[in-house]
């Protein structure tokens, strides 16, 4: 196991009866990075996070969190980690501030009261309201505050912006950037691929309990198909373009506008287009969402 990794799992296996949730997951999250963990429901994202916290015990494999084995010393791991569950549950009868103080007591008072209030102010949360009277979004804000309030070295966030409006999502993204700048590592799962694209340094895609891809979001996008639209001065014979390696024609309008998908380098296509009277070329990168879907088709 590598000491420079904030999170490292090797051949991690977790079964729920006959259901294999993790099938030999190898994961490496570097210190100080924001790592987006992508996958559809049931892919094993939450199971992975909960193995890291020793809430559940893997059937096989090795886990290190900040260099510590969570099964040997879970308290040491949790003292340095902030966690936001995907299904956040809170004590409905408590006021937001009382809930946060309760959780802070569980931490031995690691968080400073002033910082809790500062976070609440940034998220526009009234701490003196009973939790049962708060909206889902406001409850999620409490979850975010309790994960950040003790300024942990590592944040494990399961769908952190779930239920938050776009303004608050942006504020949470800013929190994450601030924490990363302060030296923390952030490991978060999300369904909102646009946010992963914006804030993650690296992305891991998990499918049925296995990591199928790890890369920087930009690399992932560039590695995939590029959409190209070419407008010609006069109709052209499409089949000559289709013969170019890595090019697939999608749509043609009377032969003057052709839309294509290009895999890999553009060089061969540009050279092939040189034989035609081209009036305009437009290229478009796919979104991370489209790239993500490729892994699930």
């Amino acid at each position: 196991m590598n000491a420079k990794m904030a999170i490292e799992t090797r051949n991690l296996v977790k079964n729920y009866g006959a259901v294999q949730a993790l099938r030999g997951l190898d994961l490496q999250v570097r210190e100080g990075e924001i790592y987006g963990f992508l996958g559809p429901n049931g892919a094993g994202k939450t199971t992975t996070i909960r193995c890291l916290l020793d809430s559940i015990r893997p059937n096989a494999g090795e886990v290190r969190v900040l260099g510590i084995d969570p099964q040997s010393d879970p308290v040491a791991v949790r003292a340095r980690v902030g966690y936001l569950p995907g299904e956040l549950a809170l004590e409905g009868n408590l006021k937001a501030i009382d809930m946060l103080q309760l959780l802070n007591r569980f931490r031995g008072g690691q968080a400073k009261r002033a910082f809790i209030h500062e976070l609440a102010e940034r998220l526009d949360l009234d701490l003196n309201v009973k939790i049962k009277n708060l909206s889902k979004g406001n409850k999620q804000k409490i979850g975010v505050i309790q994960a950040f309030m003790h300024q942990p070295e590592l944040l494990l966030l399961d769908e952190p912006t779930s239920g938050l409006d776009p303004m608050m999502q942006r504020e949470v993204h800013q929190f994450l950037s601030d924490m990363r700048d302060a030296g923390a590592t952030i490991f978060f799962s999300s369904h909102v691929l646009s946010e992963v694209e914006v804030i993650a340094d690296r992305v891991g895609i998990i499918r049925t309990g296995e990591l199928v891809e790890v890369a920087e979001p930009s690399t992932l996008i560039q590695r995939s198909l590029l959409r190209v639209e070419v407008r010609f001065q006069q109709p052209v014979e499409v089949h000559r373009l289709e013969q170019v390696e890595g090019v697939r024609t999608l749509v043609q309008d009377d032969g003057t506008v052709i839309r294509m998908e290009v895999e890999g380098e553009m060089d061969a296509l540009v050279k092939a287009l040189a034989e035609f009277p081209v009036s305009r070329i437009e290229t478009e990168l796919p979104s991370l969402e489209e790239v993500f879907l490729i892994y699930y088709q």
Binding site: Y16, G17, A18, V19, T46, R50, L53, S55, I56, R57, P74, V75, A76, R78, A79, V81, Y83, P85, G86, E87, L88, A89, L90, E91, L102, L103, R105, F106, R107, G108, Q146
Partner: protein, 288 residues
């Protein structure tokens, strides 16, 4: 652990006050009726002699009903034990699994608290709640007892309540253990409730059918002295009840150490989901 204990106690506050005060008032009022019963002792003995023996057994027996300890047993402890037993079962089964089913345990356990500390904090909190409820009842009796002809002092009354506490602790820890071992809190509480109800009925029937004594000796009711402890404590029985409660607690602690903390919506919630999963697996096997 103190933070967990404090949290457990603050959550139990309402239950402690409600159960404790209501039962204290009830117990106190029953004690004040003793003098009336004593005055009408001949009439009562005559009346009870006409009752069917099953009914007499059901109210804890008529043996020495005009004696202080017999009176307390018949009019107070024979009812209070199964009633408070229900509270102990509900509180015990919800001690950890209640939070787990609400999704709170997943959040709590992500904080720097070991499972042992979490377990101990909850367990001590539960013991203290029982002790406070039983203690309030004891106070409820001690206050008026001096003005009656019961002839028992505060110290004499410690025995019956100690016996009650041990009995409740046993059922509470049984419920705690079952809730951790079985798929859901409800199932754990239901099985513990069956043991409580079954034990009560068995104990009643065994007083009129001595053949059942051999089975009844496995029931906690057989070792619950109740009011009769005021006349002399069966220390062996008391220690036995505490010892079994301790064994249940230790097994529950071991289970809690080893098991996964579940979250809402995860596999393994209750029998209906288990059956659903079993059916899904069966259909999948048939399809292939």
């Amino acid at each position: 652990m103190l933070a967990i204990l404090r949290h457990t106690m603050s959550r139990s506050r309402t239950a402690i006050l409600a159960w404790g005060l209501i039962l204290a008032i009830y117990a106190g009022s029953m004690v004040t009726f003793y003098d009336n019963i004593l005055e009408m002792s001949d009439m009562f003995t005559e009346l009870i002699s006409h009752y069917p023996e099953e009914l007499v057994a059901f109210v804890g027996g008529a043996e020495g009903i005009t004696e202080p300890e017999g009176y307390l047993d018949t009019y107070l402890f024979s009812y209070i034990a199964p009633i408070l037993g229900i509270y102990a079962i509900l509180a015990g089964s919800g001690l950890l699994v209640g939070d787990e089913e609400r999704g709170l345990l997943d959040l709590f356990i992500s904080h720097p608290i070991s499972r042992t500390r979490l377990f101990l904090g909850r367990w001590v909190g539960f013991c203290l709640s029982l002790l406070l409820i039983v203690g309030l009842m004891w106070v409820g009796i001690v206050i008026p007892v001096g003005s009656t002809q019961l002839g028992l002092g505060a110290i004499d009354l410690v025995g019956p309540f100690l016996s009650l506490f041990a009995f409740l602790l046993l059922f509470g820890t049984l419920a705690l253990l079952l809730s951790l071992a079985l798929p859901s809190r409800n199932l754990g509480a239901a099985v513990a409730g069956l043991v409580l109800g079954g034990g009560f009925m068995l104990n009643v029937i065994a007083t009129i059918k001595p053949d059942l004594d051999s089975i009844n000796q496995f029931s906690p009711f057989a070792y619950f002295q109740g009011g009769k402890a005021a006349a002399g404590m069966e220390w062996g029985w008391l220690v036995g009840l505490f010892a079994v409660a301790l064994v249940f607690s230790l097994i529950a602690w071991l289970l809690f150490q080893r098991r996964d903390i579940r979250v809402v919506g995860e596999h393994g919630w209750g029998l209906p989901n288990i059956l659903k999963r079993w059916n899904a697996n069966r259909r999948k096997a048939e399809a292939t």
